[in-house]
Symmetry: C2
Subunit: 641 residues, 2 copies
Amino acid sequence: MSSRSVPVSPSRGSLRPLGLDEVRITGGFWADRQRVNAAATLPHIEGKLESEGWLPNFDLAAAGTLPAGRRGREFSDSEVYKYLEAVAWQLGRSTDAALEARFRAVARRVAAAQEPDGYLNTRFGRPGQEPRWSDLEWGHELYCLGHLFQAAVARERTRPGADDGLLAVAVRAADLVCDVFDDGGIESVCGHAEVEVGLAELARVTGSPRHARMARLFIQRRGHQSLRDIEWGRSYYQDDVPVRQAEVLRGHAVRANYLSAGAVDVAVDAGDDELLRALRAQWARTVATRTYLTGGQGSHHQDEAFGDDFELPSDRAYSETCAGIGSIMFSWRLLLAGEAATDAGGDAAGYADLIERTLYNVVATSPSHDGRAFYYANTLHQRVARRPADPEQTSPRASASLRAPWFDVSCCPPNVARTLASLDAYLATADADGIQLHQYAPATLATTLDDGRAIGLEIDTAYPASGLVRVRVTSDADAAWTLSLRVPAWAAGAVLTEPDGATREVAPGTATVRRAFRAGDVVQLALPVAPRITRPDPRIDAVRGCVAIERGPEVLALESVDFPASGPADVDGLAVEGEPVERDGRVWVRVHPVGSAAPDWPYGAEVAAPDAHAVEVPLVAYHDWAGRGPSTMRVWIPERA
Amino acid sequence: MSSRSVPVSPSRGSLRPLGLDEVRITGGFWADRQRVNAAATLPHIEGKLESEGWLPNFDLAAAGTLPAGRRGREFSDSEVYKYLEAVAWQLGRSTDAALEARFRAVARRVAAAQEPDGYLNTRFGRPGQEPRWSDLEWGHELYCLGHLFQAAVARERTRPGADDGLLAVAVRAADLVCDVFDDGGIESVCGHAEVEVGLAELARVTGSPRHARMARLFIQRRGHQSLRDIEWGRSYYQDDVPVRQAEVLRGHAVRANYLSAGAVDVAVDAGDDELLRALRAQWARTVATRTYLTGGQGSHHQDEAFGDDFELPSDRAYSETCAGIGSIMFSWRLLLAGEAATDAGGDAAGYADLIERTLYNVVATSPSHDGRAFYYANTLHQRVARRPADPEQTSPRASASLRAPWFDVSCCPPNVARTLASLDAYLATADADGIQLHQYAPATLATTLDDGRAIGLEIDTAYPASGLVRVRVTSDADAAWTLSLRVPAWAAGAVLTEPDGATREVAPGTATVRRAFRAGDVVQLALPVAPRITRPDPRIDAVRGCVAIERGPEVLALESVDFPASGPADVDGLAVEGEPVERDGRVWVRVHPVGSAAPDWPYGAEVAAPDAHAVEVPLVAYHDWAGRGPSTMRVWIPERA
């Protein structure tokens, strides 16, 4: 059977994603965040879209009064579409008449702004505006439509045949894109990749070969310098090297990941294993050389871009929330593509490892606990406890040390919202022989294998606080099937207990249990989540001589608000010694204040003063930092020599 | 007597700068660069100003045909003025009829563009252009005029009363600025400080109290939020905190230094010791916490700005050439202000130390040896040998690893040119009791003390290749006077030899010899220039665990083009061991290639593979790097544990 309520539904691939209709997160870490997302973040976003004018722009378009009164940047339409996508997933998770009405109201306003030939954008094409498609480098018209397509796909997969008209709007727009951009038309691409992934998925819904072909053409054209050169080079929008020839992700980190995700879709649908191999190799090198410990990507504030290999500054980490989400999109598609071309490195567990790391340490870091403020950039080191001028005001992207309710460029909040609302769909897959669990959360799973066998599971865990994951089978089977469990790369020494009580150590990668499971059978995986010291590759200059403390999938951090009154004031000028210890539900380390012997010039033959005496301080989960007012924070801590 | 051919002529201060008419560099390191500057750089710049349209803009203005055909950014006029200033200093160093004619031709074209009321800017104020003074944040009108004033001052001080009209143009423009910006007028400041330093110096030439008052008003107003807030905050243009209350330089590094230089001028002229003390304290903290080993300043590419304290990444060092020049302007003015308010740290030797460091490692790094290509940003670590697409083309600011002939924003080349052409004026000062030598180069000096005593010196040295500086007195004195010599902070163990042959060790700071010198007397200073290992303050995260090698005032670097064929390919993945040794005129270190044990994820319990065997490689003076094609380079080298 084909998958239903899923963000990605490949036409090919050994693993079939299980959708919101098959897997449901029922409690724990992520359920808490999904609850806040539904209760607080979605209304917060809609309120901002309204008050900032980004949603009213559609009304102005429908009224024919644009460009007067238009507000927001050139890509503001896309935030409305991402919001619709988020709401669609949320409605796929639980019925909510009020939310359904809100969805329909917004969708109606969007539909009313569409022009007769299918064009839809509030920023271009009317008298007094620049002409349609006149600024492919920066105009974001196709980018916006890609998000419209993803929203329509989410809606159709969670509420098939809904009479809200959004899918028809998307199809008309996609048809126009095909008319305009097919060979012989404007043979170029959008400065911000996204339409590729949108078109590919829309084609999987509509079955339209034109939409699939258009996605393929956009991927093929990228890298052939059809966009103008700019100060940061064409690598900024990946138009420097064809996708299949590239060796690593580069340029703007969101653009690079969205493009890669779309390229996987195209490679899978077209049976293009060469392209898929190239993408796997790019993923592998990007993860090995250009990814932060948190899973975050992007080292440059200036162009929101990847740096060179091993250029991974903690203090100037950009690690945009949206880049993390894009990385999850890319990794998940490679995971689903399955066994093809695994020679280039990366297997399902590797992709799911990065997804988990990014979920816990980027996606979960962005929103505040109340769901009404967000990080756009996710630094790994905050030297100054910087309070925003007005915490209620719209913020530039990354200047304060606290989360902000909204941004001039506000791509991240709705991106987080759609990711959290669809997160259930990233937990598990099925193949002909059974079920694969990729992420661990309290959840129920009910699906049917290709041969018609019904399979049910209940997952019970306090992960990541505890490493114990109990998988109870709720279905009876006469024939054997395989339950696969990811063992994270950090989980050396994990122990698996079979239904018969037999235990065995399982190595990082994939652990499997194959048998004719009976209802009530329990498979238990014990992952060692004791805090551990992590050291960086010696080629990462920015964190040489430092260690980080991790615990399970969570990166921990020092935060100044945790320091005792008699202890150091700030997280800098400290050196850590010895092993972290867990006590009272927290992880503690011993740190020594380190002074400077050279107060007037910070370089010399001898510059370090002797250590002061040590003090024990607790660590905080990185995703929880900055929840208690302005503070200083660091993930990587100098190690005492 | 008052000083003549000097860029800075304070009305007060214990040290009187000696100008081009009193000190002349006669050979060595800087004479070579001055020769190239005159022979190659000045014609190169004038050619670019012509071909890029920045000089023809003045012709269009005079013809009344602007704005059609205007080329260049909003501040392009200033590059013409900096060029004029450079040529004025060069003409002050040696007579050159052809260059004199070029100066006059350019000055004529500038004068022809001035409007009847004194306004002068090719970008604003005409029909079809934005109104005058309508964009103080980004328009740069006052900034451009500041450079005009500095050019006119240079001309008047090197060719007093020249009939080229430039001084009259400057005075008319300054009068207009006073009319428009005095209290009751536009009570604001320019988004880019510069007019302050220009007005202050112009007032010293014209004696106009209005010009001095206007400089003072601009300094007083800064920091009171008269400019709009922007994404990077008002700290970008130092409009966040009043100058007298600020604690450290912040925001755009060129703006910050130009402002500080102007503020010293104002403080000195107004007898405002409180302001002077504040500036000394800001200088001291900036040097202690926000300055690169090279003397470079500015850690952010995004806003060309200072980072937080100790945020000094090597690989993303911006260290703009112009910020280095601005720092020299600021330091030199504090040095000249002399003994007032030294309690805030910094003495003449400290200021001259930073000037020397910045001259050798920023100013000398920017231009290529042929004087026709420049660095705008001066990275301390180049990971990828990046070749520009077309080395003959105008470049963005900082993307390639090679120098570029010109930039879209081309402030640095003419700034280097005016600095090199006036460098003689930064070598020495006089006070009532004698002469102070601040920088060492082969030079002649002839001046007259306030009491009428004529003093002559000849300085003979191969510095910085050699640390031996011989100062021969060429004048006879009946009464004792004091010769002061700077002993750089790095020169522990320096030895001074008096005319009578007596030797003594002199500590870093200032060494003095006081006597009734006779012609032929020689004072010799032996500075130890053996290569030395320098370590960073433990609070500088970016270079933890690394060492740099310095020799005399020069910072050295590893550059991949120097590696033996059998050695490592790149400067990364190496660890240095042991002491540097000097051999065959080069400095050598032993480095061990260090591998990675974790090729797929760069973090883990153990990630460093064992060292490979060591190889000996030479270092290059940082200012000479990238002179032999694309290469990788690093100043800070990991130290082997």
